[in-house]
């Protein structure tokens, strides 16, 4: 039977550019597990805003990812991301190595509907040297030579994240996690899972309105309790460090990863 998570997952189609949040920012793990169970959306191009964790490692391990644009992927204190590291070594996924503010700059360009955003730093790094899509120009507003890097706009097809609550009008409470709004502004489609759906109207009160992503930018919402587990959700619950370590150990091999995925149900977490 199709449920709300299936309805959200069905928006994600093979080959799409999918923006995903930082591991403490509200990672939609329940939705991620559903995407893996369905296995229909493949060859995904993940854009980590600005780094990735368990979600990225699982999607790669499940063979659904063709490219990763990121400034880092790791499991934080649980160590390196084993399926990511393996896939990079074997060339199974293509890398677009970036640096955190370059990802933010690319999303900001999309938000402003301009083709690029200039950015300081980067010059002389191999991060810049390997990014043929980034261009270096001489600052046209300066009198002396002043090289500066242009970061092309990043237009994700879909952004996915998990948040504490939405209201009946489809407004989503993001608090101070403004990068979630930045992802939504830049993306064609935004899919949000939430812990709960409440009856109050966030836009009717100044206190909640300031931390709200308006429904205008939100395509669809599904309720998923503990939907970020084993990642934490800011202000709501802490990461399950023991589970992250258990995954990190299991996923060192492809077989261990497959067994973990078969025996650990992501959506009925404690």
């Amino acid at each position: 039977m199709q449920d709300d998570l299936d309805r959200l997952a069905a928006y994600v189609i093979s080959g799409m550019r999918v923006a995903v949040p930082v591991d403490y920012g509200g990672v939609p793990m329940a939705l991620t597990r559903r995407l893996i169970t369905r296995g229909e959306a493949r060859d995904l191009h993940l854009i980590c805003v600005p780094t990735g964790g368990l979600q990225v490692d699982m999607l790669i391990g499940a063979g659904l990812v063709a490219m990763v644009e990121t400034s880092a992927v790791s499991l934080g204190e649980a160590g390196g991301a084993p399926r990511f590291n393996n896939a990079v070594r074997s060339g199974e996924v293509r890398m677009l190595d970036a640096t955190c503010p370059a990802i933010h700059a690319g999303l900001l360009a999309a938000q402003k509907a301009v083709p690029f955003m200039p950015m300081r730093g980067l010059l002389g790094s191999d991060v810049q040297a390997y990014r043929e899509d980034w261009k270096v120009i001489d600052n046209p507003l300066a009198e002396d030579a002043d090289p500066i890097v242009l970061i092309p706009a990043i237009h994700p097809d879909v952004a996915v994240f998990h948040a504490p609550m939405a209201d009946r009008a489809g407004n989503v409470w993001i608090g101070r996690r403004r990068e979630l709004a930045a992802m939504a502004y830049a993306s064609g489609t935004t899919l949000v899972t939430v812990e709960r759906i409440v009856e109050t109207d966030f836009m009717a009160d100044e206190t909640t309105a300031a931390g709200t992503l308006p429904a205008l930018y939100v395509t669809d919402i599904a309720q998923a309790e503990r939907g970020a587990w084993p990642h934490g959700l800011w202000g709501t619950y802490d990461p399950d460090s023991a589970e992250l370590r258990r995954y990190a150990a299991a996923a060192r091999t492809a077989e261990g990863f497959a067994e973990y995925m078969a025996t650990t149900k992501g959506e009925t977490a404690p």
Partner: protein, 258 residues
């Protein structure tokens, strides 16, 4: 209880000294020793009428001034509002180049690390970037990094307000001279010899004939570290703070930093 500082405390005290006079220090996630050094610097500044020191710990809710999402740290650094930051590095070379990406030929490297994070920007924008890596071996301190996540120096026409300030390892403290460019050994930690450090370091560095030992903290500083700073640290890094307390009280074997 150990009455003299143990190895981890020497690192914390060294960091606090490097942060003297700063007003805003940013610390990456999962960096308990830099965080402790910043907390000690803050406590010492309060005790001596120096300017108030703010600390932003990334990923922490309590120690965080940012309300504009994860881009704000970088905006803040670009505006010159962050004086000091810490970078690790799978590889660090004598020109101050840092590699956070991997070992071997890019992109299909034989060892892949997480990635460059914000280094390729923060190294250009924050005046005192302290390279901190406890492991000091030839595989970390290399002649030339395999991938430059962030370069130590730039051509004169490149906009640059920041860069490497010091390199602190489990063996010693080096200061960076951007005109050379290169590192100069400032002091050796207790139990280290110049010959051992040379063997453990893949790059050339400047040094005195007999470099001094890293100075231990005076009694009030050590008391501040073992009191207020450890209490503050416990809120963000409970496991690390508990482990350090146990080491100080001699209830676990004292670590040997290599």
């Amino acid at each position: 209880m150990s009455t003299s500082a143990i190895a981890r405390e020497i690192l914390i005290v060294s960091i606090a000294r490097l942060l003297r006079g700063t007003r805003h220090v940013a610390v990456g996630a999962a960096s308990p020793i830099p965080a402790a050094g910043a907390m000690l610097a803050r406590a010492l500044a309060e005790a001596t009428d120096e300017p108030r020191l703010r600390i932003s710990i990334l990923g922490s809710v309590e120690h965080n001034f940012f309300t504009n999402g994860s881009a704000e740290l970088f905006d803040c650094a670009g505006q010159g509002r962050i004086d000091a930051f810490f970078l690790g590095g799978g590889q660090i070379d004598g020109a101050g180049n840092v590699n956070l990406v991997g070992v071997g030929e890019y992109p299909e490297m034989k060892v892949r690390w997480p990635g460059s994070f914000g280094s390729a920007y923060l190294y250009f924008t924050i005046p005192r970037v302290i390279l901190f890596r406890e492991e000091h071996t030839p595989r970390v301190m290399v002649k030339s990094v395999d991938f430059i996540s962030a370069p130590g120096t730039s051509a004169p026409d490149v906009w640059r307000k920041g860069g490497p300030y010091a390199l602190l390892s489990g063996r010693g403290l080096f200061m960076f001279d951007k005109d050379k460019p290169g590192f100069r050994l400032e002091s050796l930690h207790s139990g280290q010899t110049l010959a051992e450090i040379r063997d453990a370091t893949g790059f050339e560095f400047g040094h005195d004939e007999n470099p001094p030992e890293t100075a231990p903290p005076d009694a009030p500083t050590l008391a501040l570290l073992r009191g207020r700073v450890l209490d503050e640290l416990h809120e963000t890094y409970p496991d690390f703070a508990a482990g350090l307390r146990a080491a100080i009280h001699g209830t676990e074997p004292q670590e040997i930093t290599r």
